[in-house]
Symmetry: C2
Subunit: 229 residues, 2 copies
Amino acid sequence: MISEGTNRTLDLAISPDGSAAPGQLYTIEARSGVAVRLQKVQLLRIFNPSGHQVCDFWAFAAGDLTEYLSMAHLHTSLGSIFPKVGDKLVTTRRRALFTLTEDTSPGVHDTIIASCDAARYRELGCTQYHDNCADNLCMALCAIGLEAPLVPAPFNIWMNVPVAADGSTRFAPPVSKPGDRVVLRAEDDAIAVMSACPQDLTPVNGENAAPDILQFDVVDQAGNASSGR
Amino acid sequence: MISEGTNRTLDLAISPDGSAAPGQLYTIEARSGVAVRLQKVQLLRIFNPSGHQVCDFWAFAAGDLTEYLSMAHLHTSLGSIFPKVGDKLVTTRRRALFTLTEDTSPGVHDTIIASCDAARYRELGCTQYHDNCADNLCMALCAIGLEAPLVPAPFNIWMNVPVAADGSTRFAPPVSKPGDRVVLRAEDDAIAVMSACPQDLTPVNGENAAPDILQFDVVDQAGNASSGR
């Protein structure tokens, strides 16, 4: 997949192949995306400085991008639409690629809504290109020399989409707070992509709140923690 | 995508290219799948003779199989996880490929659960190949000379997966009744695939009920109705 338009995501690779320096704190600019290569048992810690910024998250098996995290498979394996600490996040082959090991937020995340994309913003009335998560995924992979085989349905960390008893859904502001973090342990080598969702036409990233930055670091299993926080 | 195993689906194409004879009633054998080519404005009527048989449903744009019905995009466009009569079913490009024009059942269908596949049956304890919907999709397309680029998350017609207030899900028996039908109008040329779900280890197809047949016909917009019912 190639993006419909472009933004700074193309220039924001953290290294040529997406490998992170363990312990270094990286910032995902508002409205952009970043890919990071993880080795088995490394921890990916994602931080929400503002508390109201949603992170669209995807992950692919490092050796075969046609295997990727799948929310539809996750629902079967968890018996829930809300992953909780201790839950394994599975791929299209029902293999655990990550475990959710820590979540300082109330655990309200979304697993049923597609990433925003250029078509979504056209529906919302945009007549010019609007930054979007689907393109950020494609560009973040392109920036490390890879191409997404598709845009999988994302794990929308901190996104609040209540499902009512009648099945109706709505876009509500996040309930996370400044400094919240979600920690994912890689259960195998993986390419993860995060997008600081640029949605500013619905309250996905907070009521009357501008899209904001996210931060992340990678921690080795040995305990080489981030120096940044 | 190619299937992990095979069953009679490979031999059950309704015609070499999947085109249907309008008005002819076709049977989908229990545990198998069938692909059907639809022209814009044709109606696809899917019948549930037993009332308890789930139909995994996928559809691709006829001209480009990389555009397909997407449940994650559907949730955004409908503001619901349950499509109702009058709702449009959209693709990965947020384009309406079908409209749900009739539903004689209570409207309980699933849009969040992945198709069963070989890996799912291994998880459930199967040590030998078990018929499964993901393979049925691949085989049904193969039977008309096409290859699925992936196994999209399906529209699980008549499948009953209640989502509780805490996000938990469970597999419950269908609430549809014998003879129920769902009618989909093609909004553009499409390749639809239906699988009579072979799940017999959970109550997806009814409590203690064996997987059963489904039936379908294609009706021209001119009103050339099925002779079969």
